[in-house]
Amino acid sequence: MADLSMTQGVRQSQASKIALRWLLYSLLVLFALFYLMPLFVMITTSLKSLDEIRTGDLIALPREVTFDAWSTAWSSACTGIQCEGVRPYFWNSVLIAIPAVAISTLLGAMNGYVVAQWRFRGANIIFSLMLFGCFIPFQVVLLPMARTLGIMGIAGTIPGLIFVHVIYGLGFTTLFFRNFYVSIPAELTKAAKVDGAGFFRIFWSIFLPLSLPIIVVTVIWQFTQIWNDFLFGVSFSQAGTQPVTVALNNIVNSTTGVKEYNVDMAAAIIAALPTLFVYVVAGKYFIRGLTAGSVKG
């Protein structure tokens, strides 16, 4: 009797376990679908013709797939007076993002190396001040920065935007590298010093080569920030130097008459593709790099 009820109990609890598992997965799938909905709508809308959008259902699949909206968005949509699509602005963004990411990452690595491995009097204060830079709302710095750019003679230029992004990226890049390098035993630097290596030699030959995980994290972070930036882009650019985010805004907001939703959606996806691409390529290193603690010597 006792045995029987026991096995029954086990069977029951197993059944309820499976039911619970199903419930869990269904909920997760439901949330995933909900989360993917906007992307789905964007993609389907960008593949529909204007007629179909006007007459059809928002979440229906396109009856007839057409890439017209994409080519319009890329090369002939109007951003105000000009009608060149997002293409020139896309290249502006590339020209801004790549040097800005490279420079801010390299400088952040050097800063982190100094703050973590070449402890000097006041190193902690300087590091705290740099951290403070991470939390300054960017609206606050718009006016002083505009003045600075003017004095430097690079206002409204692509180098000017690179400069701005490097400056405001340094807080985060320094933080990333400092936290990575602080876990590396100080004896490594000491050994290299005894071996005769100097400040830059130790950085190039010993610290940079072991920084790959944190470089990936920093590059993804910085690229996403800079590529998606709108505020600096709109404030510190002029006609020929606007980044893609600003162009996207202009396409969506400056059209008159019929709203071309399919073009807007295509332009938005084009503007988001590079960051998406970076995540897909390097995403797993991102998670690994964020959780990686110490380096085994």
């Binding site: 035993p185 004896e187 490594l188 000491k190 010093k193 005894v194 071996d195 030699r201 380096v295 010597g297």
Partner: protein, 365 residues
């Protein structure tokens, strides 16, 4: 010959905290100097000062007769082996060993010749293309030594190089370092907290505590004539017995009286004492309290003691008892008849006895 390393009146402060106080050490070429002391005694800081990795607050430091007080580490002609080995993680073993030469612009042929020589000497030839992460602790240790050896410096510095190894490997590497010192005839400064390592390796020991040198001497001086209670207690395993005792002058000899919890005091006679105060602390090594049968020399005096505990340790058996209110350890032979709770006749040999002042802790004889 002029000393290879000479430290005069060295002080090191961090802010207002004094880490090292008035350090004076000098060693001759070929010496193996061991800095030993409990953790936090400043021995590693002193080594870092010698290497030039820590600036010194005042005093002077000479290596090979040249003033190196303000010279950067790379120009001091030293090589250092670290506790964590500090191998460059992204470089192969060969690159690790030749890095120093590469930085200094030594030509490729010389680099390869020296690498081959050191690899052969340390038997690490099969490892040359591996990364440090693929090596065991002992192998990493060898590579770290190789990196130092290849430089052929005036002075080798070792910062607790064996403390990350397991017990067996540690003893093996200890022997190897000793052999290396013997074969190279090189001058070495070695930091450890392990007093056995200090005794076995050193030609000269510096015992430190709280940033102050307690005693400098050969291993046998340190062991047999400790300068104060700290050194007496720190060096030797099991530690020296430090027993409070009363001194009673009695004609030719002096009576040393040790009280016991119950029963009559033990009275020992020492003929070589002069000017001892009434209260002393008697320092006797465990091996100087032995079975009467194995006593040596004319100083041995027998006394019956109540044994509290018996600890067999293979080659020896240690018997623990209460004398003068302290635990006292005697080193008896393995087949001793001593049993816990029983009286045992023991021979006290005062030939190498130490007397310390209870208040200052300083040696009296």
């Amino acid at each position: 010959m002029s000393p290879i390393l000479e430290i005069n009146n060295l002080y090191k402060n961090y802010g207002s905290t004094e880490i090292l106080k008035d350090i004076n050490v000098s060693i001759e070429p070929g010496d193996f100097l061991v800095l030993v002391g409990p953790s936090g005694c400043g021995k590693s800081t002193l080594l870092n000062c010698i290497a030039g990795l820590e600036p010194i607050t005042s005093g002077s430091l000479k290596i090979g007769g040249q003033d190196m007080t303000h010279v950067s580490p790379k120009d001091r002609d030293i090589a250092m082996v670290f506790q964590s080995y500090a191998l460059y993680p992204t470089m192969s073993v060969a690159k690790n060993i030749t890095f120093g030469m590469k930085v200094r612009g030594v030509d490729q042929a010389t680099q390869e010749r020296k690498l081959a020589q050191v690899a052969q000497q340390l038997q690490i030839e099969p490892l040359l293309n591996r990364r440090p992460g693929q090596l065991s602790g002992g192998q990493r240790q060898r590579v770290a030594m190789g990196r130092a050896l290849v430089r052929d410096p005036k002075l080798f510095l070792f910062d607790e190089p064996l403390s990350n190894l397991d017990a067996k490997l540690r003893v093996e590497m200890r022997t190897e370092i000793k052999a290396l010192h013997h074969n190279l005839g090189a001058s070495m400064v070695y930091v450890t907290h392990d007093q056995i390592e200090a005794m076995t390796l050193a030609t000269k020991i510096v015992v430190m505590k709280g940033g102050v040198i307690q005693q400098i001497g050969s291993p046998s001086e340190i062991y047999n004539r400790p300068a104060n209670l700290f050194v007496a207690d720190f060096m030797g395993s099991p530690a020296m017995n430090l027993i409070p005792a009363k001194v009673r002058k009695n004609g030719a000899g002096t009576h040393i009286e040790i009280t016991r919890k119950d029963g009559v005091p033990i009275v020992l006679t020492d003929t070589k004492t002069e000017n001892l105060p009434e209260d002393v602390i008697l320092g006797v090594r465990p091996e100087d309290i032995a079975d009467p049968a194995v006593r040596i020399g004319g100083h041995a005096q027998e006394a019956e003691c109540l044994i509290d505990m018996v600890e067999p340790a293979g080659a020896d058996t240690f018997a623990v008892m209460q004398l003068g209110g302290k635990h006292v350890t005697a080193r008896l032979h393995a087949e001793t008849t001593a049993r816990p709770g029983q009286l045992q006749k023991l021979a006290f040999d005062l030939g190498k006895v130490s007397y310390f002042a209870p208040d200052t802790g300083l040696r009296l004889n």
